[in-house]
Amino acid sequence: MPDQGQIATKRKFKLVGTRPVRPDGVDKVTGRARFGADMTAPGMLHALILRSPHAHARIKSIDTSRAERLPGVKAVVTRDDFALPERRDLVDICYNVMAREKALYDGHAVAAVAAVSKPVAREALRRIKVVYEILPHVTDVDEAMKPNAPILHKDMRTKGIDPKPSKASNVARQWEFGHGDVDRGFTEADIVVERTFKTAATHQGYIEPHACLASVGSDGQGDLWCCTQGHYMVRNACAGLLGMKVSQLRVTASEIGGGFGGKTTVFIEPVALALSRKAGRPVKLVMSRNEVFRATGPTASSSTDVKIGVKKNGQITAAKAVLRYQGGAFAGSPVQFGAMTAFACYDLKNVQTIGYDVVTNRPKQAAYRAPGAPLAAFAIESVIDELATKIRMDPLEFRLLNAAREGTKSSYGPTFGPIGLEATLEESKGHPHHLAPLGPNQGRGVACGFWFNFGGNTCVSLNIGEDGTVCLSVGNPDIGGSRASMCLMAAEELGVPYERVRTIIADTAALGYNEVTDGSRVTFAVGMATIKAAQAAKVKLCERAAKIWDISPEAVVWEDGHARPAGANAGTFKPMSLADIAAVAGSTGGPIAGHSEANADGAGVSFATHMVDVEVDPETGRVTVLRYTVFQDAGKAIHPSYVEGQFQGGAAQGVGWALNEEYIYGEDGRLQNAGFLDYRIPVASDLPFIDTVILEIPNPGHPYGVRGVGETSIVPPLAAIANAVSAAAGVRHTQLPMSPPRILKSIMEKRDGV
């Protein structure tokens, strides 16, 4: 029998925890790696999409005849080419992919063409005549909730309230979480702080625009190459939208140039497939950066009320938050995750959160790294900071006093198992960063954050080659070095060198369903499947050795990369390495492989504490980030460099969100900054080195103790920076981004005693 997975804490790893070069590294530093826009096909057409210039308009007619007559145009599609799908979950996606009776936001797709060249396609777009009836629009969440607001969907009745409203509104749903009695809790408090916060919508800002190459034959079979976080999701969604069977559509994931949640749905893929089917030729469709900003999924913007009460001794007696998130033109803002995570860092007797999912005339939001959580944490952790100041307690001590720990009933319900929040707080307390002195106009902020992490459907195959090397097929795109982690875990489990394992991302025809690369699930779930597949292969390897030695399989153990007799009674055979057994596999029963198909559960929740120092220029409101340290629980860091990378990347995105990134809409409802010039993501000179402290509190749900790490790192930074800026400027900031005009105004108002 193979060795059983040891308790993670006690296990001594040989490879896990080391930092080898990633297996796809050379491809990515030489330009050989193929991303979404890097594929071509013989006879390929170029497609472009015509988009609504209006925030809200009835589409009275679309005349494509002049475009169709243009030589070189091979197909034109509009709403008439997309029947509403049977699957309920695809209806909004269908409407988002191609506008129907109304265009619901600036950038909403209205028609698409495929032509022999980009210039011909451009000219064809100019020849499509769309008649719009412009309607009143709304882009702000609070405005959209007002009774007289323009209504986007005449059949939208708020779900989750009783009785069901009779009147249409822009509130898609109400959510509620919590326990205890907050009203009573507030009466027990000595100090209560109540504030309202606003955050702007931000975009994931991946550097690679969406791109795909679609080919559908007259036999109805299709191939699709695209950059996505989940090609199985793409296959199922596209098949549903185009009325295809999933087996008829094979999707291959290209290398992916960033996603952060933004590539967990479809935008252009169904359009390219529809064009290809109509034209009978392969169609390439690549978004411009302008289209990425206007017509993919940014995250929600929000407006949140927070009320927290404490006793003088620092104990929180009650906490309440009302969160209003607009998620663009269709239902589905991540407000429920905001409401669930808002107070997850604290051990609370009385807690209540209410969330409103609101629609507005903006592009439909897509997931963005811990969707919904950073916005909520910004509001809650700001009030926590203010309370700590009011009761004259160190903000880390105040958090430690109220911190969630093993056995705490979480604010969203379940009781926590072993978790690492206290460890991150303790670690940050003793860190040199916390003890370093600050200069004039400088401030230090801390904040905590929480994310669930998911598992989900996962399927991998591990094939052992005749030469003793291993090929691992997984179904999740490698978005940040996951191939390296998979190779490490497979090699660790099999006891072979890291270099002997190659991990490939298989297409949708090669493996069973794999959920999207989201929820920080890949290292956890695909890692678990990899370990199980390796264990399955080890069973077979031991069986083969047993056959060769003519002893019972139970008498063979797998140790250190070799099959060995289990003990004295099993005989004295020379141990056989994986390569030895693989070399004679053909003669002992055929190829050796291990598989794992499972719905992975047991993803451990994860916590982080961030600490940041900033300096505010009191004359211009400019913020300089001076020092940044991330303390986060990784469960077990498989490849520590890429764990650090996730910590650093999340912090950097948080810095952008906190200081300068925002979707700016004009009075006309059009997006004003649909480009990297005025949508200001941090550049190299905006940031210091970002220090990281990896804590390892093993997740009992994973054989190596892994917890997801990708998302938690973006939860604390908005609040940590807000707390630092508020300290440095001497004014509490409650609105993001904390752009220079906003900060300067607050400083001047304070100076003038406004």
Binding site: G31, F35, I207, R289, A684
Partner: protein, 158 residues
Amino acid sequence: MSQIPVTTTINGDATEFLCEADETLLDVLRDRLELSGTKEGCGTGDCGACSVMLDGRLVCSCLVLGAEAEGREVETIEGMAEGDTLHPLQKKFLEHAALQCGVCTPGFLIAAKALLETNLDPTETEVRYWLAGNLCRCTGYDKIVRAVLDTAAEMRSA
């Protein structure tokens, strides 16, 4: 209007191509010459993913017309390694895990190489400002800056 014939040198190789007058060097590299290692992130010079060297100067190839390459020398990511020997920067980027998704990486490598060709002892601040035109959304730049500084140190001592 017929297409413009252009004779140029790309990664040391004499190259000829035809292009439209309004076609960018980036489009020529990617679509006509199949050198797709140079990436398009924005098409407006704001992200640096399409960085190439043009007559020894670092430029965004999305802001250069293909026709302008006539008689000039272009260097792209495909020409950075010598055979199977990686450039020291390429090695250090791998050692330091200075990439996650890798789509900005070719642009960063070209830009960093340009820096080290003029300044082999840059400060952290100099590296950060030199690379400010190259956007990376994954790494927070930490490991990229470290990789560049480490390469410079190694090249100085070599």
